[in-house]
Chain length 251, copies 2
């Protein structure tokens, strides 16, 4: 992109037609979330998802408004969502999309927006919602931090990049090779393993899991360079070719 | 980085010790440069290098001040350089570092800064200057656009990333494979070819040159994904393993 700016300057192209950054409102939802540093009471947890999603959105090229934590109150949530739709191109929420109990996010979005509530056959990031509020796309990401991250990477980021006119919307994919056995149980789902990867002397991208793979264990995931796409079954032994999505090529 | 922000939020780490962005002043130098869109007169060219370097610096994580074109006047250039050194952590200049004729950049920097003027055994990007003005590092990049880009990638960017505390300062390197013959003449220099690259079904990074490799031909370079490091000699045939620095993994 930088060299293209240089080329445009060199031919005196002082005005060019370009996609503008997508303006995205991001928020976390839930009375249990604490974001002001105060001590946790029973049942409370720290807000972390919108804090993670805001820089992910910015790195994807979006103009981000971090709306913070929205409390579990239908009137408040509706007001925040309608205001967000009025001056953004997309809305990203975190939490409240799982099957089961009543959730204020589901109640409000189900009433004011055209939503589809999904159970995707993947792990992590099974629950997902997508819809439109007054024409503005809403990405309802799951509340578990790792699920939220993977769901963003697989579903929200490609869509937002398409909205910004990118020809390549997916993360770069490569046929890597696993240096260790990758064990899993058959469960009808495709698994996305968080892995460290590096190029070997053979020119291949070698991967090994970052460790704890629970959907709440963001600390291990934070160190991941890539996702291995592991099809349903018992896993694969060390030395097997595996499909990899590269998130970060700093190593 | 984004997931790390999430982890820090989840453990209520509200203040963390971090490197701040390096503040960089970037400028082009030369009376022949036109940056206001006016018609070119004989001997004039469009300014493009600082326009290219500013977003390259920003993408590397720096806080950039684009000082524009500085005219070939010793007093003016000294004033601009001293003012830049007073409130920046580094200065990047473009042009005026080649051997040979009198150049105002060389005259002023040689007088007010501690500079080393180099001829590096590479192509492109042979001329390079580095020094300090009042303790502030100065990267004197060459004026040819492609040389300026390659010189930035090989010398300035790693140094600036080190100043910002990064553990990995170089672009990711991979043993790729060339899909075509890479011909060159022995000249005592290592060549850095601008190439397009993509991962094949064999998991290898396959490269082919972007086309015109002249040091003034920025348009072809703007499309490059990577640099192939081609040692001195006659080049290598198609199918050979080659050392590659990946600049851009969007494909």
């Amino acid at each position: 992109m930088a060299a293209i700016a240089g080329v445009l300057a060199s031919i005196n192209a002082r005005q060019v037609l370009a996609h503008r950054p997508v303006r995205v409102a991001v928020m976390s939802t839930g009375d249990e979330l604490v974001d002001d540093g105060s001590p946790l009471r029973p049942g409370q947890i720290r807000e972390s998802n919108a804090t993670m999603l805001a820089p992910l959105l910015a790195a994807a090229g979006c103009a981000v408004d971090h709306l913070g934590v929205v409390r579990d109150d239908e009137a408040t949530l509706e007001e925040v969502l309608r205001a967000a739709a009025a001056d953004h191109d997309a809305i990203v929420t975190s939490g409240g999309v799982s099957m089961g109990d009543y959730d204020v996010v589901k109640a409000v979005l189900g009433r004011i927006a055209e939503m589809t509530w999904m159970q995707v056959a993947i792990k992590p990031a099974k629950p997902l919602a997508f819809g439109r509020l007054e024409g503005v796309p809403i990405f309802g990401l799951p509340g578990n931090p790792v699920s939220s991250l993977v769901s963003f990477e697989l579903f929200a980021r490609p869509a937002l990049r398409r909205m910004m006119g990118h020809a390549h919307v997916a993360r770069p994919s490569v046929v890597g090779v696993t240096d260790v056995d990758l064990r899993r149980q058959p469960d009808g789902k495709v698994h996305f393993l968080r892995v460290n990867g590096e190029f070997g002397d053979d020119g291949r991208y070698h991967v090994r899991p970052v460790g704890a793979q629970g959907s709440h264990q963001l600390a291990a995931t934070a160190l991941a360079d890539a996702l291995v796409v592991l099809p349903d079954g018992d896993g694969v032994p060390a030395g097997t070719d595996v499909a990899v999505l590269i998130l970060n090529l700093s190593h």
